[in-house]
Symmetry: C2
Subunit: 395 residues, 2 copies
């Protein structure tokens, strides 16, 4: 084995290899599923008549973003300035940083604007708006800002009827920084039926459109009316008044999204390849070398109808092994067990498996990048690796 | 702001700076606490008459390891071969890889042995032992291996009385690979009193000594009798028959360890600096830019007597703010709230705080390295940064 077989280093171009080759654990993306997920939401957005601004926070990969938006580089949403800078380096020029702005970060925002990136920030307070106004004036160029509006009490944002909304708008407008409004229906992750998800989508749209209307009534601009989350983007049927739709998780999907019916298990594009390193037959356990370092500590399905532990188990081809669950994790150990009353399959030492994660954003973050399987067929009984996609990390 | 202020890049040597300077979130280590934690366990090990083999899996930093073992480079434990390779590069030559060996990883182990590193592996099955024996013979050098023994049903290992123990020993002995036995009392993390922790330490020792004795009775060698976990290492009073003590978490400690009384809050050497980015006064929330990406999803205190949420909140100097807890996390958002019945402190936009984590191993893993504060005093009201320590990542 050569050192280039370590995850985190791209495979040597002359080394034909399969999922049986890299040292485990490592993350793998199914390119065909990724494209299908991307096409599905792109089709929805087209039918709804609203452009899609993909959120790159899940994959944090330029290659993934290029597949999702194959006419691009189009508009993107980011969760860190590190993503904004890396995607700007890759030619993306329309970037929304969708975390409430810390004034200390504004110099990096200005640097991106000076590079010609349309770099929009988010905020929900008069104090933040004043910081953006002052930084805009100091830089001699307006920093575009959206006002965060809250539809469901999930985290930040002003309620659409809050008096402060117009006040924040006026402060931004004084520096020509007011770009519009943004809503993220974060509670939609807990909406377990199509009806509830559609209701969440309607609330998200209503909050955004109401807030934009209030700004306009006050003589202010609200060109951008931005909404979205993976569940609401897949449930919305009417986005009248909305100018853009955001979603991120859907490129990979995960067990949480499958658990609320937004996707099926066959849509999950991200998994982690692990190896069987032992058996505790006295306890009904199969031990692997994939612990929480490889899967993350995310237990998003714990609060769902079916708790999937740290993940469901598939074979190396990606076929789910019925009733086998990753039930526990140490830092570098995974424990697999059969669901109550089912039999443990025979998986000898060295068997490679793919674990489907609770939460793709969290699991992907544990890895420096992804090996890709995408129509390369099989070699020596294992799926052929067709690429390596690096992730952006840090802040 | 220059790009070298991004966490993940070392500070320029000519840039005097404090915890007020780098973009948030970022991890910080308190050097004085680290040294105190290291001295405390080193003193215990000396009094117990057993050499310490520090586990570097928590900090994954050569600089931290050098402080912990200042006479070093001495013996270390690693959780990945990436750590083994990085520490070998830094001059460490006595390395124990304490995760059951995947036969596919043996070529990397052999490469380290050929570099002159005494590289020991761990296993608990006849099939693994046969793989190690065969690889030893193929390489023409014995791969030292410890047999994992289970004291408490935590994860892997053979019960000390298992017939397979001697069988595994014989297979290893055939290639001169048998080095001894190892026990990790993982359940000690759930021992909530000094008495229970001492009982766990006794069980850990007894399991190791019993297993070693069985091997010796069978005419096999068991030179190494290795035990340890942070709770048992701090509770053990008699390690007769043990040849080395392992622990890792204690270099940083965390809220889980404080929750079971192994350390106090004043011992926590790792924290994450975050910035206040907003307020939801209607809900009693302060929003920060430190979410689960910065803290990890670890909620280890959720099962303890006092649930500390995603972490306790301290000011930038590290003084805990009473009754303020990080109660929720999105990817890049943290929510702070007061404990029931207490008042929310006034923390304006831009205020920097330090969050003390549930689980140092998991939180540290979310970062590329640590800024260090260590006796540098204050400048402009914030602790002076005295260094940057990089982490090993990947596998």
């Amino acid at each position: 084995m050569t050192s280039d077989q370590t995850p985190g280093r791209p495979p040597a171009p002359d080394a034909p290899r399969t999922l049986a080759d890299p040292g485990t654990p490592f993350a793998v993306v199914d390119g065909a599923r990724l494209r299908r997920n991307a096409r599905r939401l792109a089709g929805r957005a087209r039918r709804l008549g609203v452009p899609l601004r993909q959120h790159v926070k899940t994959a944090k990969s330029v290659e993934v973003a290029r597949i999702v938006d194959d006419a691009g580089p189009g508009p993107i949403t980011v969760s860190t300035l590190a993503e904004a800078e890396a995607f700007a380096d890759a030619g993306y020029t329309d970037v929304l940083y969708a975390v409430g702005i810390d004034p200390h970060k504004l110099p990096r925002v200005v640097a991106l604007l000076r590079r010609g990136v349309s770099m929009t920030v988010l905020l929900d307070g008069v104090d933040q708006a004043a910081a953006v106004r002052d930084a805009s004036r100091a830089a001699g160029l307006p920093i575009p800002a959206l006002i965060e509006v809250d539809a469901d009490g999930h985290r930040g944002g002003l309620p659409p009827g809050a008096p402060a909304l117009v006040e924040v708008g006026r402060v931004l407008d004084a520096a020509d920084s007011l770009a519009g409004v943004l809503v993220h229906a974060g509670e939609s992750y807990f909406a377990t039926t199509p009806l509830e998800q559609r209701a969440a989508a309607d609330r998200e749209r209503d909050a955004a459109v109401t807030a934009a209307g209030r700004l306009r009534e006050a003589g202010l601009r609200a060109d951008v009316v931005s909404v979205g989350s993976t569940p609401t983007a897949h449930a919305a049927t009417d986005l009248t008044g909305v100018t853009e739709l955001r979603a991120g998780n859907y490129v990979f999907f995960d067990l949480v999204m499958a658990g609320i019916g937004v996707c099926s298990l066959e849509d999950l594009a991200l998994s982690v390849v692990v190896t069987v390193i032992g058996h505790r037959r006295d306890r009904g356990w199969i031990m692997t070398d994939g612990g929480w370092m490889a899967m993350s500590r995310d237990r998003g399905t714990a609060s769902q109808a079916v708790d999937q532990g740290y993940g469901l188990v598939a074979d190396l081809d990606g076929n789910v092994i019925p009733d086998l669950v990753m039930t526990a994790a140490s830092q570098e150990h995974g424990t697999l067990a059969a669901r109550d009353g089912t039999e443990l399959p025979d998986l000898p030492l060295g068997t490679r498996l793919r674990i489907l994660p609770n939460h793709a954003c969290a699991t992907a973050a544990q890895h420096r990048g992804y090996y890709v399987v995408d129509g390369g067929g099989q070699a020596a009984g294992a799926p052929v690796i067709t690429g390596w996609w690096e992730r952006v990390s840090g802040w």
